[in-house]
Amino acid sequence: MKMWISLMLLAVLTGCSSLGVKPWERDLLAQPDMQLISDPIEASLDDHVYFSKEGSSGGRGFGGGGCGCN
């Protein structure tokens, strides 16, 4: 099992090594709008609504508890 996980990680990391940018090409990716969660407050408000109304939670981040939420 351990060996499989190591092999998979290695494959992913090797596969990924051909992708990407040079350090001086990060101008666009450094913009706040290009962050994966560009607005953490909107994301947390959405998570709270969907956590309260649906049977699923988490995925993007933690899906834990934190409220009774009827």
Partner: protein, 434 residues
Amino acid sequence: MTHDKNRLTHGAALGSTLAAIGCSVLQGLPNQAMAGELEKWDADAAVLQYAESDNRVQATEAVVGLTRNVDSETQLNLKLTVDTLSGASPNGAMPDDQPQTFTRPSGNGRYTVDANALPLDDTFRDTRTTGAVQWSAPLGRDWTYSGGISYSSEHDYESRGVNASLSRFFNQKNTTLTLASSLSTDTVSPEGGLPVGLSAAPEWNSGSFEADFDASRNGSEADKQVIDVVLGLTQIIDRRTLMQFNYSLSLSDGYMNDPYKLISVYDEPGGTVQEYRYEARPDTRQKHALFWQTKHQFESSNIIDGSYRFLFDDWGMTSHTLDLKYRWGFGNQYLEPQVRWYRQSAIDAYQPYMTSAQLAENPDALTADYRLGDFDAWTLGMRYGYRFNADTEVYTRFAAYQQNPRDFESASTPANSGDLPGMTAYMLTLGVKF
């Protein structure tokens, strides 16, 4: 959640503690130093107004986030959330061709629902306060870590959480592997005490009401622990595109029932309602989620953000979530249409109602909570933002959320989607960043 009283003490104490942390940093600094100190803080605040159709749940949620930038990679983040809820929530029972009377969860009163109307418990009221502190910093050249604590309190629910994460960069920081974990210990103390799973809900006009009510309760509070582990891979594809893949595992253990939800017992499908029972869910749950997100900036500087989540668990639920946002910038303003589609299948223990014959077989777990049933949901939203400069922005967002239950196909307890609770909610957010 809850009924009647609001206990704000914990929340208020937490709020003052967080404010005190912020103030103590600023206190005692000379004016010039204070101005310099203020420049290192970012603030992010928003208010959400949430309203469900048919006078169901109404909520107002206010969030304030403060970030102290120690350097470009080291941050302290403080977040305080307060939300208030009121309105009516489906109690789990089916609509019936006769008026139905239910005892309030506290045992101090009753409410009657018209014939053919969806049974809603209208005594729903609560205030919740949440505080969180998060620290993140680099660890040498190729690693970063983060750690945080959180606390949340409402009238009948309390939660304490800790989390930690560790990330490693590869390939000139184009690839990031993250391992994150969180632990939360929650306590539920329902109005009127803890209902015994699948015990009979006491009948208000019964001669033995007091004895029946006591027999349906077992103590006043119960605990739940939730452990989450997330393994994430972030990959920069090119100058305009990045991608993330997450696998997350969530293990819950403890009291998982909704103490205010009932299930109707019929003599036969389409027959006469015999009684109501409190719902019961399994006391452990293991959820797995696979999450993929990608973000791309076009030559025009417009940004597309798409994500997909597949979730499955040992309660028998599977769900699919697709989320798409397109940010269309013009000058110092932007418009962002948003669409989200969600579909879940019911858990094994879900039934819209049960029959007397099923009850006689002493089932372990049964719930009629529509949130664990089969449904599809759509969210359509639009966000508009105006930027005064790189750091200052005001924005507003309006979204409509619609849940459409699907027919419950079953040989023993079939139900038509028209008899199950659908829902429409409207959300309006106003926010500011500076």
